[in-house]
């Protein structure tokens, strides 16, 4: 079966000449359709760079990325909502850009906001919402892009533990309902095991996939469950090993 995303021999460098920094080296990776893959690595390991390349914000220096005609949506650690638009208008914007008719996109935005539990906050401006709520509006806006592939760059990294826990449930539900393919970047091994079908351990300088873990735990999972903790321990050990051998 054709994968949803194929990353083939991708290397990426920043800067030029002597100052050149190799951020990614020969990364090859395939995501199945409707797979939830988590990418864990130390900060500065090039995880975000990889997401930006898959989102086509930059072209890779070498190698190829193929999404087989599917759109991608990218979520950042900060919600990056447009402060001059209401929650509903933020969600509508990607549809406006695709020239969806006004009444249709209004209806769709309403549905997406209630899908993330924010039906009552359509008219709120971003500054009136909490961090977790903003991130959910951003999720609704990403879903409004009608993208089969969701790229998430530590989206819950700045949230408190309770909110993050609840958003994990929410994301899992939306992922299943919509058959999304998700590439989720985090530096938290436990979060990766909680969410992922597969956890990819990323090494630093240059970034590449060092190891991968298949997570066959039944869903819904809980962050505190002993199985999640045990697997997260294994992933964490592997991560530490990478950091220690590559750290200097």
């Amino acid at each position: 079966m054709r994968p949803a995303v194929r990353i083939d021999g991708v290397s990426h460098a920043f800067g030029q000449g002597g100052e050149r920094l190799l951020a990614l080296h020969d990364v090859s990776l395939e995501l199945r359709k409707a797979e939830f893959a988590c990418l864990v690595g130390a900060s500065g390991s090039g995880k975000s760079t990889l997401l930006n390349l898959v989102a086509r914000l930059d072209p890779p220096t070498t190698g190829e990325i193929e999404t087989f005609g599917s759109r991608t949506a990218l979520l950042f650690q900060e919600a990056a909502l447009f402060p001059w638009l209401t929650a509903a208008d933020n969600v509508e914007l990607p549809m406006r850009m695709r020239h969806v008719a006004a009444d249709k996109r209004r209806e769709e935005a309403r549905q997406l906001l209630s899908a993330v539990g924010l039906a009552d906050f359509e008219a709120s401006r971003p500054h009136e919402l909490s961090g977790g709520m903003k991130q959910r509006v951003a999720l609704a806006r990403a879903l409004a892009q009608d993208a089969a592939i969701l790229l998430m760059d530590e989206p819950f990294g700045a949230l408190d533990a309770i909110t993050r826990d609840l958003l994990h449930d929410e994301l899992e539900r939306i992922w299943l309902e919509r058959n999304l393919t998700i590439l989720f970047v985090t530096h938290n091994a436990r979060e990766a095991v909680r969410l992922g079908d597969r956890v990819l351990v990323f090494s630093s300088r240059p970034g590449r996939v060092a190891d991968e873990f298949r997570i066959d735990l039944p869903r819904p999972r809980r962050l505190e469950s002993p199985e999640v903790a045990r697997l997260a321990g294994l992933v964490g050990d592997r991560l530490r090993e990478e950091v220690l051998t590559r750290g200097h």
């Binding site: 914000l57 990056a80 402060p83 695709r98 971003p126 609840l166 299943l176 869903r219 819904p220």
Partner: protein, 288 residues
Amino acid sequence: MATEPLRMPAYGAGELSVLDKLETTPRPARRFPLQVWRGAWPRLAAVAIALAVWQAVVLSGWRPDYLLPGPVPVLRRLAADLTQPVFYGAMAITLERALWGFGLAIALGSVVGAVVARNRVLRAAVGSLITGLQSMPSIAWFPLAILLFGLTEGAIGFVVLLGAAPAIANGLISGFDQIPPLLIRSGRAMGASRFQLFRHVLLPASLPAFIGGLKQGWAFAWRSLMAGELLVIISNHPSLGVRLQLARETADAEGLLAAMVVVLAIGMAVEILFSSVDGTVRRRRGLA
């Protein structure tokens, strides 16, 4: 693998919405008259103080009454002037010039600002020139303007345009500079074309700074216009500037000051208009 339907724990959405309620504070209802009063009283107090200082200077006897009349005779004169159609004619001519010149300055300043802000080479080439033009006293343009256009409306318009446009362009440029890069990346990641990025992200993001530029541009335009109306006097075009000049020539101090009050009032009224738009925009974005 998740192939069978999931039963999510019962708390889920309910718990989230409880959190949402805890995390948002209801907006305090604003009482309209109270709000108006809160904005108005400092201004009224300032006017009162200014009038008192003026009256004090007059009472000190520093200059005789016929050269420096106090606020009471001047305001009485103003009230009388305001019943005369001629006065409104003068105001209309001045306002029409302001509207034309400032309107053109907005058009030119916006286009130049947008083009320069988005083009690195142009930015390096003319960025500092625009700032230089902004600090150039507009009255220095008049000799050239009169050479080029003669004593015509064109000369006045030219100087008003050159006075206001650089401030407006600079406002837009600094607006573009202050856009958080994350918002631009967010727009690009949702598949915006170059034009869509400009229309839906860059322009609205730079709006507060652009309004700041308009405000400053207006101040420059109004100043240039007054200078112009004193220097370029066109017969049968009785503007506010002409009234000022005539009042001086006929030693009509009350008429002179009455006209000055009007000049000040118009300048302030437009400034207040821009400030209130500015305040609304900022409040909406949580900046104020």
